[in-house]
Amino acid sequence: MKLTIEEIARRLDLNLETLERWIRQGRIPVTKRGNEGIFNEPELKRWASSHRRSYRMSPRMDKNQIQQGCVLSSAMERGGVFEGVQGGDKPSVLKNCVALVPDLPLEFQAPLYTQLLEREALISTGVGRGVAIPHPRNPLDQGISTPVVVTFFLDQPVDYEAIDDQPVFVLFLILSPTVQGHLTLLSRLSFCLRDGAFVSFLKKIPGREAFLARVKKMEKIIDSKEK
């Protein structure tokens, strides 16, 4: 198999200089001809696995690309918006919410519910002004593949032991497979919630489209600030 040296370096996640030196020193089963490396793919894979390296077939996804722009609004779009969620107290509300999470396999609902309750037992996720951000303490390693934020507008405000003791009327359930994704979502969400106008906008229980449009607008502000 023939590939450019740069491509091989990228696939092995190696520094170009290191790769070229290893080829010169004969430490890697690749021979160089011009700017091309010739190798046998299974052979190189075997070498990689025995040297604490992984050989990637496809180009690596750039970490930064995932995080760039509209993280929150797309996560919210994936999660969906639900109105009129029933429930008289915190556990029953959470139980109903978990049942509504889209694309969550049935067998993961009970564990998620337990995790959410455990988190609430530590300290309430009611962040004030009638908003709560329930989330599991540890990233979910099963059930979901991309970070989602599910929005639930409650049928009637419930007591959530929030920090300002106000009853909660809206819940944003954050589910993320990675800590990094969770923190990004949380920081963006809290930026939105710090804005008084946004919260009063929520109180009116806007429709799905209007709500997502508003979040997108808020997020544009964040993006522009970061740049």
Partner: protein, 576 residues
């Protein structure tokens, strides 16, 4: 076009790319044959020179012969070949560890000629080291001819040295073990097989051309418990002889460096001194194998006094020859000195304890040789196998092992490194495979540099700086002059941590006020070991790399550990 020269790229065949062992073995045979030939060639020309000059030995001006020989060899090496004096083995070791065994083609014959001049004219030195150098250079040249990579070339350099030693002593095992123990410093399966094959090839070619003769044939030794006990004493004597020779050589070298005359004049002075010495003790002249022969056969005439005198004279003569710029190795002198030591020791014992049933003195001469070789080279296996093979007497195995091992150990107390490694160690160039210094020497600054730093201008306000901080992934911010791009200093996150919540300072402090304007910097060609030492001394974990007054990136210990592990992994694992 490519088709016609295809056979010069054997490593590109997919069959060999996956497993080059067969390739190395077959090229190793070629290398072994050539270096065996070189050994035979040197041996033959030495005999020729000795015979040609034999009738001149009795003339009064014969002491000038070594002078002329050493002078000619020095001029040849310095002026014509432009290579340094010395025996060349440290150069081979260094080249193997640093440049994948890259040696110049001319090295494959230059030392042969110069050492032939030195030794043939009577200088006290050995032909083995020059042959090793030449074998190594032959291996390197052949590897380059076939466009092999560094690892393969190193193996072939090993093949060359093994073939050379095997050829000159007719001792294939010694060739293999000498190469592994001294030249390569690692025992890996991938190397052993081609090198063993090359050693056999080198020994075989010498057998074909010179007959299968064991150099110092001897047998009929009956070792008893008393001899084993006596060999303990001999081991200590051999160890001190090794120390004496090592120090003598170095001392003499130190003296000759201080004398401010051209190299060839120095060589001539040293040679003349050896010549004068040879007038009184003719045993010191040349490689001295003839006297070893006599001693092992037990027909050496002369009592304790003569043997002891010859022992010291040989050490002195060798120091004079090699220390003053003659060309040759210390292998043969070691053997001669060792056999004198063994002989003298035996005679002292026989004199002090008459009636003790000791084995004959030939056996002690033999053990002395092993003791000296093991002591000087600090390579017990090489000593044991060399003596076994060149004398062909297996019955001395037990005392041989005792003498070799104890001599190595005792010498090690006084000389921490072998004769070949000492200079390298002093220069920090002893880089054995899989060691810390070797790993660090192989990794270049360019490989560990991280370039994802955000540079800031000096007039940036703290407020903007903190803004920048949010998006950065690193803790270091190089400060650059926006117009010239010159590196001005560096801001570390730790420097500003205490101001982060101090909003008053946001608009009053500039980056240039908080930056470290005189940090320790690294250049592209710095040695990684030095960089790490600086980091340890300053207690920092990252250092900026600056080239041409411009910031290019950071080197951090964390990334280094990653690279270090990879490198160690790759270096210590068997070839794929």
């Amino acid at each position: 076009m490519r088709k016609t020269i295809f056979w010069r790229y054997p490593a590109r065949l997919s069959f060999f790319r996956m497993d080059d062992r067969l390739l190395l073995i077959s090229i190793g045979v070629i290398v072994g044959l050539f270096s065996g030939l070189a050994a035979v060639g040197l041996n033959r020309s030495l005999i020729f020179m000795l015979e040609g000059l034999y009738h001149l030995r009795h003339l009064w001006w014969a002491f000038l012969l070594p002078a002329a020989g050493a002078m000619a060899s020095s001029i040849f090496l310095e002026k014509i070949m432009k290579e340094g004096a010395g025996h060349g083995i440290p150069e081979v070791i260094y080249s193997v560890s640093r440049y994948g065994g890259l040696l110049r083609f001319r090295s494959s014959f230059s030392r042969l000629i110069s050492s032939c001049l030195t030794i043939g004219s009577g200088g006290s030195a050995g032909p083995e080291a020059p042959v090793v150098m030449s074998g190594a250079a032959i291996g390197s040249t052949i590897a380059r001819f076939f466009y092999l990579n560094d690892r393969q070339r190193t193996t072939l350099v090993g093949c060359g040295t093994a073939g050379a030693i095997a050829g000159i002593f007719n001792a294939p095992l010694t060739g293999l073990i000498f190469t592994m123990e001294i030249i390569l410093g690692e025992w890996s399966m991938v190397n052993i097989i081609p090198i063993a094959v090359a050693a056999v090839a080198g020994a075989e070619i010498s057998r074909i051309l010179q007959g299968n003769s064991i150099a110092f044939e001897s047998s009929g030794f009956h070792i008893t418990g008393v001899d084993l006990f006596a060999s303990l004493g001999l081991a200590v004597v051999a160890a001190f002889a090794s120390i004496l020779l090592t120090r003598g050589l170095r001392r003499m070298h130190g003296v000759s460096v201080k004398v401010k005359v051209p190299m060839w004049v120095k060589a001539a002075i040293g040679g003349a001194a050896v010549g004068v010495l040879g007038f009184f003790v003719p045993e010191v002249l040349g490689e001295g194998y003839h006297s070893i022969h006599d001693m092992i056969q037990g027909v050496f005439k002369g009592g304790i006094g003569i043997a002891a005198l010859a022992f010291f004279a040989k050490i002195f003569a060798t120091s004079l020859t090699l220390g003053w710029g003659g060309s040759g190795g210390i292998f043969a002198p070691c053997l001669v000195i060792g056999s004198f030591a063994g002989l003298a020791f035996h005679r002292v014992l026989a004199f002090g304890f008459p009636g003790t049933p000791l084995v004959n003195e030939g056996c002690f001469a033999l053990l002395g040789m092993a003791g000296l070789i093991s002591g000087i080279l600090q390579a017990p296996l090489t000593g044991i196998f060399l003596i076994l093979e060149i004398t062909g007497s297996y019955e001395v195995m037990l005392p041989l092992i005792i003498v070799s091992v104890i001599s190595t150990t005792v010498t090690h107390y006084f000389e921490s490194d072998s004769f070949y490694h000492k200079d390298l160690r002093e220069r920090g160039e002893l880089l054995r495979p899989g060691t810390d210094s070797r790993v660090l020497a192989d990794i270049g600054i360019r490989e560990v540099i991280e370039t994802d730093c955000i540079t800031v201008p000096p007039h940036m306000l703290l407020r903007e700086f903190f803004h920048l901080l949010k998006q950065s992934t690193r803790n270091y911010f190089p400060v650059e002059d926006p117009e010239t791009g010159q590196f001005l200093g560096i801001v570390e996150l730790g420097d500003v941590r205490s101001y982060i919540f101090n909003t008053v300072m946001y608009d009053t402090v500039f980056v240039e006020q908080i930056m470290n304007s005189n940090p320790d910097i690294i250049h592209y060609d710095d040695n990684l070991a030095d960089v790490l030492e600086t980091m340890d001394a300053r207690g920092c974990f990252s250092m900026p790399v600056v080239s041409n007054n411009r910031f290019v990136g950071m080197v951090s210990k964390a990334t280094l550990l990653d690279k270090y592990r990879d490198e160690l992994n790759v270096q210590t694992s068997q070839a794929f």
